[in-house]
Each structure stands twice: as C-alpha cells, then as structure tokens.
C-alpha cells in the first residue's frame, strides 16, 4: 500500500537529534564546544606539528619574550623559557599531556565507575548498602587530598598520578550512577518493561541507560575538569609530572621563580588551562541541559 508511507518522508527528529539542535542554539556552549574540539585536535596531532621538541634547548635564545614584543623572535612564537625551550611547543605537548590524559583517565573512570554503579544500583539489600556506605566514606575525602595520599604511597611520577586520579574519580561515577539508577527504577515504565518479560540486563540497557545519559555526561565533564586540575596540581606540587616535563602544572611550577622577569612563562600555561577548564565545564552543562529538555518539546 503506497499511501501507508506517505508521511514517512517527513523526518522525525529523535531525542538525540533534538538535543543536538537545542545544544547548537545555545551560542556560548557552541563556542565552548568548538574550543574543546580544538583542544582535542591539538592533543591528538599536536606532538606531530609542534615546531620544536619540548625538550630542545636553544642556548642562544634564553628567556625570549613572546614574538609580539619588540625583543621577541618570530621563530619562537610565544617566547622561550630559562633553558631556551620553545614555550609554544611545550604548550602543545602539554595539551596532550594534561588535557589528553584527563580525557582518557576520566573516560576510564567512567567505564569502570558506571559499570560498578550499575551493578550496585541494580542490586538490593545488604550488598548495595555496604557499597553505598563505603563510597560515602571515600567521597567525604577531597579528591586532591586522596590523590596526594595515593601518590605518596605509589611514589611521584606522571604514571602514578594517572593511577591516582583514576582511582579518585571512580567513586564519583559509581555514586552518581547508582543514585540515578535508583531514581529510574522507581518509574513505571521500568515496571512495564519488567512485565514485558525483560531481563535485568535488558532493562538496564534499553530502559535505564538512555534516560540517565545526561547525568553521566555531566559527571564526565566534571570528572575531566577535576582530572585536569588534579594532574596539574600534582605536577605543580612536584608529585606528578617531574620538573622539565611540558605538563602544564609542572610548567607553572618551573616558571614561578621567574614570574617577575618572565611573566609570560606563568601566564601562558595558566590562560590555556583556564580556557580549557571553562569550556569543558560549559560544554558539559550545555549538553546536559539539552539532553534534559529533549523530552519536553
């Protein structure tokens, strides 16, 4: 019957398309989204396009100011530090270290945390209550402090920092997932799906996850910024990435002594990090708002 499909050419935007449309309407989030995309792009291919190696020391050009100043040199776009290393190249490499690693670590924490949280959320009785109280105890400690403790046990270094941050982020994901799953399980369409004969896993996959995705996305954006702050903070304290590494926190800590003579060394990584954190958070909130309102036309 041809008339059956007469309207099928009209496109019905799904909830995700609608959310995307809504997200794009918000200019601030859209600009921030572009910035985040730019940072991700830099993090991925940056190391291949940077003009110099981050460790390359040009002894002839020590503490060169950025190129727009009269004393600057156009070969070193953002100047050089006290060992003659190119700040621009170091920032690019730092992007993949600080930001790239944060993205990956937060994603790892998301995968582990959400699956643990789903397990905890779907289980009942004493098991879930033990889980809950344990997590509450862990969550009551500030994440940076916990990371410091873990690094203190494992010893300093970027690798150990990554593990520490991962371990710190997991409980937050577990907790959030567990709470939203609990809320979701009370709703009637879950009962309806159960009466359809759906297994617990099926319910989790088809009925619960599509509805809790917005909280997970928000949590992810929070986790990314927390991870960045933690990695940078540990680097700054000398517990994470070691001196000389192009990690943003370590760069800041290296340049802090020279702040009166060469302020750009501290300001440039600071600005980059600020911009990065701000846009990640804004994008997270924008996405969440868009997803939240997708089912209210």
């Amino acid at each position: 019957m041809p008339q059956n499909d007469i309207y099928n050419e009209v496109e019905y935007p799904g909830p995700y398309q609608q959310a995307w449309g809504k997200f794009k309407q918000n200019h601030v989030s859209w600009v921030c989204f572009c910035i985040v995309m730019f940072f991700i792009f830099v993090a991925v291919i940056g190391p291949f396009i940077s003009p110099y190696s981050p460790y390359h020391q040009d002894t002839g050009y020590v503490l060169l100011p950025p190129s727009w100043q009269s004393a600057g040199n156009v070969h070193f776009l953002l100047g050089t530090d006290d060992l003659g290393r190119d700040v621009f190249s170091r920032l690019i490499h730092g992007t993949s270290l600080t930001f790239g690693i944060s993205l990956l670590v937060a994603f790892g924490a998301l995968v582990i945390g959400v699956s643990l949280g789903a397990l905890a959320g779907m289980s009942k009785g004493i098991r879930s209550s033990i889980f809950n109280h344990l997590l509450d105890a862990i969550l009551s400690i500030p994440s940076l402090l916990l990371a410091v403790v873990i690094v203190a046990i494992l010893g300093p270094g970027l690798n150990n920092t990554i593990w520490a941050v991962l371990l710190v982020l997991i409980p937050q994901f577990v907790h959030r997932t567990q709470i939203v799953i609990r809320d979701e399980l009370k709703k009637e369409y879950i009962t309806a799906a159960r009466l359809d004969g759906a297994s617990e896993f099926h319910i989790l996959k088809n009925s619960i996850f599509p509805n809790i995705i917005e909280s997970i996305i928000l949590q992810y954006s929070l986790a990314v910024s927390a991870a960045m702050l933690d990695i940078a903070a540990l680097g700054f304290l000398g517990l994470g990435a070691q001196h000389g590494s192009p990690e943003w926190g370590a760069m800041l800590s290296d340049s802090i002594d020279l702040i009166y003579r060469a302020s750009w060394l501290a300001i440039l990584p600071g600005i980059t990090m600020f911009l990065c954190l701000l846009s990640v958070n804004t994008v997270g909130h924008g996405l969440r708002n868009a997803l939240k309102h997708r089912s209210e036309s």
Binding site: Y7, G14, P15, T191, L195, S295
Partner: protein, 259 residues
C-alpha cells in the same frame, strides 16, 4: 464456558522493618478467591490503601504473592514463568506519561514485548506494530513519534497498544481513566468495549469512578483494608448496596439518595 482465570487464596503481606531487629507484618491483601471468564469485566473499587492496586499488581505479576495461586485456563501461573504470563496477562498503568519510556520511539516501545516474547522477524514485528496501532485508532506514522509528542489520550492509547500487542487474554488496568478528560475517557471506554467484544478479552479494572464502573463491568469488588467487603454483580450491588463503604462511595458520587 470454562473459567479463564481463577484465583485461589491470594494474599500479600509485607515485612516492614521498624527497628533493625524488629519486623512488623503488614497485610496489604487478605486471602481472596475469585474467577473470571472471557468477555467479562471485573471492577475493583475502594479507597486509597484498601489493597486494590496491590491486587492488580499481583495479578499482573509485578509483585509476588505471599500465598495462593493464580490459574489461567486451569493451569497454575507462577510469577517466575514470566514468558507465559506476560503474553496472557497484560497491565495498563494509571499515568501513561510515566509508563512510556521517554527516550524510545513509539515503534520501539511496542516492539520491545514482541522481541522478548515472540520469534517474529523484524518485518513481521513492524507489521504487527502497525496493525496494533490501527487497532487502537492511531495512524501507523505514530511509530516514529516519541512519547512527548503525543497528547495524554494518545499516550494512553499507546499504552493500550502495548498491552494488546501480545494478544492477551486478560488486561489488568490500574485506574486507567483517572487522569483523563471526559471526552477522551469516553473514547477510551468505547475502544476497550469494542476490543472486548471482538477479541473476548477479560478486563480487571481498578477504578474509583463508579459511573464508569457501572457502565463497563459485570462483576464488582468493593475493598476496604485489604479485604473484599462486598462482591457480586455490578447492577445488583449498585442498586442495593449492603456494606456501609459501598453506600458511602455511591453517595459521594451522587449515585444514591441519602435515606
């Protein structure tokens, strides 16, 4: 005609933990037995907390009974044998707005029970979905819509379609008309009655609107505190109610002159 559904000594008690070491038993539903035939409608009325929703949930399998058994066509149903039960006894919830998953399209919502309970291919499933939508008076285009695009009346139709899609013998409905406008409600009543006459479905309604109950039901249970205080043919009971609760209910809906 043989009995379609038979319920023997069904009851439900909850354990309520007052203190960690002290458990109090709360009886939500005392032992109840009844039977219902095809083409029949049973209405359950009562006040809040009288156990009528509990009974509906037990019948639909949303909760496990504490004692008793449910026989469908003479065969015992256990809550664990989900497959069998969910294709024969289906449930409609009070609020269609919350009983439809907001992130699935209507087509996906309707396809779900088919995927889980039948071995139909994708094409057959789509066909069935379209047919069922037509049966509840919706265009097949609604397959591509999402619940938030529909009005509440249409949502309730979708909920009904989800119940119908497995060709059930019994539909349990928990206050399906409570949140409806009069004209949508009448449309829904008409639709339900039509379906009953064509397919011989038995309905079990939980409701508090005696007007509707009177119109659609054959048998009626009046419940109070987990007990059935009055039961029988709808017309008889509404004409000469014996129990004070029935009288009170009738009176409160202006269906009885105060004597």
């Amino acid at each position: 005609m043989s009995v379609l559904l038979e319920v023997n000594d069904l009851s439900k008690t909850y354990n309520k933990r007052i203190l960690p070491w002290k458990v109090k038993k709360v009886t939500a539903l005392e032992k109840i037995s009844f039977s219902i035939d095809a083409y029949q409608t049973l209405a359950i009325v009562g006040e809040t907390g009288s156990g009528k929703s509990t009974l509906a949930k037990l019948l639909a399998g949303a909760e496990m009974p504490s004692t008793g058994e449910i026989l469908l066509d003479g065969q015992a149903l256990y809550t664990k044998a989900h497959k069998e039960r969910c294709s024969h006894i289906r449930m409609i919830f009070q609020d269609p707005a919350t009983s439809l998953n907001p992130s699935l399209s209507i087509g996906q919502i309707l396809e779900e029970p088919l995927k889980l309970n039948t071995n139909l291919t994708a094409i057959e499933r789509e066909d069935k979905v379209k047919k069922t939508l037509a049966r509840v008076g919706l265009l097949s285009d609604y397959m591509w819509h999402y619940p938030h695009m529909l009005s509440s009346g249409q949502k309730q139709r979708v909920a009904l379609a989800r119940a119908l899609i497995l060709d059930p013998k019994i539909i349990v409905a928990d206050k399906p008309f409570a949140a409806m406008d009069p004209s949508t409600r009448s449309q829904m009543v008409n639709l339900l009655l039509e379906l009953q006459q064509t397919f011989g479905i038995a309905y079990i309604f939980v409701s508090h609107n005696l007007n509707i109950v009177k119109h659609i039901s054959d048998q009626i249970f009046v419940m109070q505190d987990g007990k059935v205080v009055e039961q029988g043919k709808t017309l008889d009971i509404l004409k000469s109610p014996r129990h004070t609760l029935t009288q009170k209910l009738l009176y409160s809906q202006q269906m009885l002159r105060k004597s």
